[in-house]
Symmetry: D2
């Protein structure tokens, strides 16, 4: 039985992460074994480290954490036809049933029976991972492996951007963490007339500009409603993409949306927001929560956008060996990075 | 100068309505003069009577109130081609500019330069009214004039129902005032699998059943979330049409919506609601405010639905002469009616 | 090894169908065994009998034919969770891969790797059939089994009707074989303002009226363009649902469509049609080919429509024992029936 | 009465164009007078010169021709609010009624009562033109006036590109005259993964590459079906934008479209095409005719795309004084140009 190094959540409670070794996983007839070449650190991993309520409900330690990755296929189950040994793949983290009421309606991304990689089953902070072949997405090997390891969060950005038409529209991107910053690039790639990034952190704001933001608004330095109205000839924006989860940011966004404006929300506020629903009714506004990635239309869109020249490589600010996962998590918590990549090899 | 009787808001402040006479209005080249055969009382008329904040901002007394009506065309301006003398017409209450940013984007119903009949200009609680010919909608004269006088609120119901696909879907209609009750009928007409009406008022609940509701839930007698889950095999509903403006009702609706469920909201809550936005994100929910009627797709839809057999005549519970407008308003405030129709002739 | 009776295509060439016995099929871990309670005869079965070019390319005799059915689950593979023994099920005939470019884009119904029940693998003109559990659709057992055996063609009708909005619209249904006739009922169920059936066969025309057609046009007795313009105030129809495959019928349909009208086509013409594409350009027309059923949105829609009261039971005109399959095929060829159901038990 | 120079169609029949003088037009209360700074020559102007069947049906000589232009507002009617003197404007050529069945359904661009500038009423090959203020579109004066004079054909390109989602998709643009070439640029601007231009004329092919085509296929030199399959990994394209009107080109396009592929057609074939409708049915294809520009969503999209950096200036290959209109028409007929601009001043 060959062994591999990996990072596990050893037991419930804050902390309790540990670098250890485990047997290289077996695979079933419909699975593949992937040699992990790059894994990206996500806010969810921080939640698992901190053992917040969300994590405590979903994880059963001990288990290997991590869910954003890319790697090389090294073994395939006997029924597998869509990938072959040697392929460079990334993966959708939601394993779904295809037969529940939601899957049957084309909503696989919120399947009632979802099992999530790195949460409900072993993840990718490891040298190897076994996943269902269906969840693998064959990538263009010419794209840097660090970028490919971010396909899952890029997919969240793409899902949000593509929810409403943004071509020729004025778009505000609120919150420029890694997903928001990638959303800026995606919105420009698909023809947004103007992308206004709303972000107080100067480094993140600068990165948003590097990825294509036409202008950045610092919502602490200026009143974002006033400023964005000014930047849009008094009209406001057509679309808001919300990644901050910040209550003031969200309430401001409702103010600077045009009538019939659209708000795609992915950021998770820590507590309820007091919405004035009358604003939605009088002005015909739309709010749409963005859950995961459409399976697999969003993945196909990513493939097409990358083929068309989308470049999000600057979002990778740190590359560390897997052994330094604690430093990766620290950078995330401190907000000193955009995306941190871990390399098992 | 021929005179006509009419109801005016005489001056600012609560009350101050008065039956009086005014000259029959002149019409411009693009206008028509309509002999009002039936006018319907709306909650907005009650607000104007009570002189709430909304009304105080929009109305400049003295002016004739009332905006829901149907009647016969008795005069047409020289440029008018779309209606002719003798036509039975109803009318869209929003007069729009066709050239602002919103109109140009197909959002005429929230035009920046809207002028509203019975609010910003003289209304229909009168024997005659002058309106732009463009706003007139020629009706099938075989439909009872009382029903035709409700085309504007019926349009609000149709707009809400048609916002999201409801054919073959499970739909909750929350709040069965006149618009909600008509929405029940419309949802059934377009093939909803099951319409669950949520309404505590027994008379209104009974009327909802008469218009096609498959079941009524009394949200005071039972927990609506539990009950609706039970009625839907534990799944919840695909679509909520919200007409109540009730905060508890809206919060419950978010709970019994399926993942990727859709909520079209028309009811106006009296104060902000504390939404848990995370519910929207995790479950991919959509909230859409419904403003007015699409101009004029909603009107065309009404025409088609009525031609296809839609019958909302039972929503008319009272018919009074115009002179008894005070009684009509009283019935509305007391919730003792569904729709009250006033007849000037 | 238990045996069952079944109908096979014994070898290539016209005819060559035979009632015989075969072992009851084995099932895999993800499959179910269904006891066939009713099977419906399809035009495709006639093509297989006649061994036309389409059939010769797709079928490898000997194999059991038939693909429209409903029955009772009598055995389930060890991985099966979505159905259980005793469930009454119908089935989607397309078995798809979930991983090709088309499946990944949400187009499973045209999957590059489709295997079709009753064509590429053993079918349902038999006492038992093994199918992947994913393809099974659990049905309401209160619905007559004959109706449930038509879920697959009903799905084709539903797919066509739902392709474009028909609520409140004027719709022409061209060709009232079983699918067209069911489309009439579906279009009315989802709120079409007026359904005009175009059908020369008097029995079929009468059946279309029974299922809800507002009027029938006999395109041999009258000029359908002239007649339909007359029936629609000179405007034409919003939507055409084409099931005839008749070249004259299709060309006429293009004429009586309104500008920006929509044509959903399912009928297969025997040879190319000379379209005037300029008609499409000047008038902004849309033509959409309808292939199979959306997997599985169309099935969910069927469930909802049946729950909402859709009744297509009158389309069943003949019920025969399986042994009389030749008579069923004869009735189809002679056009003396609408839908013929075969019963193995 | 001040006079202006202009180009008129003097009488029916081929030729019969003439440079002459006419009084500067009067304007109505809702009109504006525009000083024409640049006018573009369209294929339609060639048809008017040649007096083909289309032109003979629509034009009543003598009248000023030309319909693509941009200029400065020099006078406004008393009811005009959306433009002011000094504004640089372009104009929609379709003047519509807002009240017919088509306008009421949001299809103003195919209004039953359309009057077309430069066809049914005096056009822009003149120093001044009077148009309804509603049809004027205020432009960014920083954009070259020659580009602004092409807003109407650019709008046709934008309408075609925006008909179906092209972001992240593989798109073939068939026929690279001015509109097709602009469509290449628009498709890239809104994020197409790959744009394949299909064009035999070498100059036009080269221009398509300058505007962003990833690759050009010469359909005379190679089999376009084979070549495009090869360029797309055997899959074909997601979307075809057809501007050639070439029968072989259109038939090839149907072959290299993916299942569920979309074809937006604007080119006008000179005679009927023999389509194999079965290809549409089996493969779920869509064909959509593109008529004019959505009024006015397409104009808003153009504004946003230009603001976002869309540059189509290279499509202007010739600039001539108005007096040399004959040379402009000759260049068009000879295919020696892309877009020819005439300048009255």
């Amino acid at each position: 039985m060959e062994m591999m190094k990996c990072v596990i959540k050893e037991k419930a409670g804050a902390g309790n992460l540990k670098l250890t070794t485990r047997p290289i996983p077996e695979i079933g007839d419909c699975d593949i074994l992937v040699k992990v070449l790059a894994a990206a650190v996500c806010g969810t991993d921080v939640h698992i480290q901190d053992w917040n309520e969300w994590a405590a409900k979903r994880l059963t330690p001990p288990s290997i954490i991590g869910h954003e990755f890319a790697g090389e296929v090294v073994k395939t189950g006997k029924n597998v036809k869509n990938v072959k040994i040697g392929d460079i793949v990334s993966a959708e983290t939601h394993i779904v049933c295809h037969t529940c009421d939601l899957c049957r309606n084309g909503y696989e991304h919120v399947c009632y029976n979802t099992s999530t990689i790195g949460v409900a089953r072993d993840g990718c902070f490891a040298e190897y991972i076994s996943i269902p072949a269906e969840n693998a997405f064959v990538c263009d090997p010419k794209i840097p492996i660090e970028v490919l390891s971010m396909m899952e969060p890029l997919g969240a950005a793409v899902h949000a951007v593509m929810e409403f038409p943004v071509a020729a529209k004025t778009v505000a991107v609120v919150g420029c963490g890694p997903i928001g910053t990638m959303a800026v690039a995606v919105a420009k790639q698909v023809g947004a007339a103007k992308v206004i990034a709303v972000e107080p952190n100067e480094k993140r704001a600068a990165l948003a500009v590097e990825l294509g933001a036409d202008v950045v608004v610092n919502p602490i330095a200026v009143d974002p409603v006033e400023k964005i109205k000014e930047l849009t000839g008094g009209l406001g924006v057509d679309v808001v993409l919300e990644f901050s989860g910040n209550i003031y940011g969200i309430k401001a966004a409702i103010q600077y949306l045009k009538p019939e404006g659209k708000l795609a929300a992915l950021g998770l506020p820590s507590k309820p927001i007091d919405f004035d629903l009358a604003e939605f009714v009088y002005r015909g506004l739309t709010l749409k929560g963005i859950a995961g990635r459409l399976m697999y239309q969003t993945w196909e869109q990513m493939k097409g956008l990358l083929a068309g020249g989308l470049d999000v490589s600057k979002v990778v600010t740190h590359i560390l060996p897997l052994e330094e996962y604690e430093e990766g998590l620290r950078l995330m918590k401190a907000g000193e990075c955009s995306k941190v990549i871990l390399k098992p090899f």
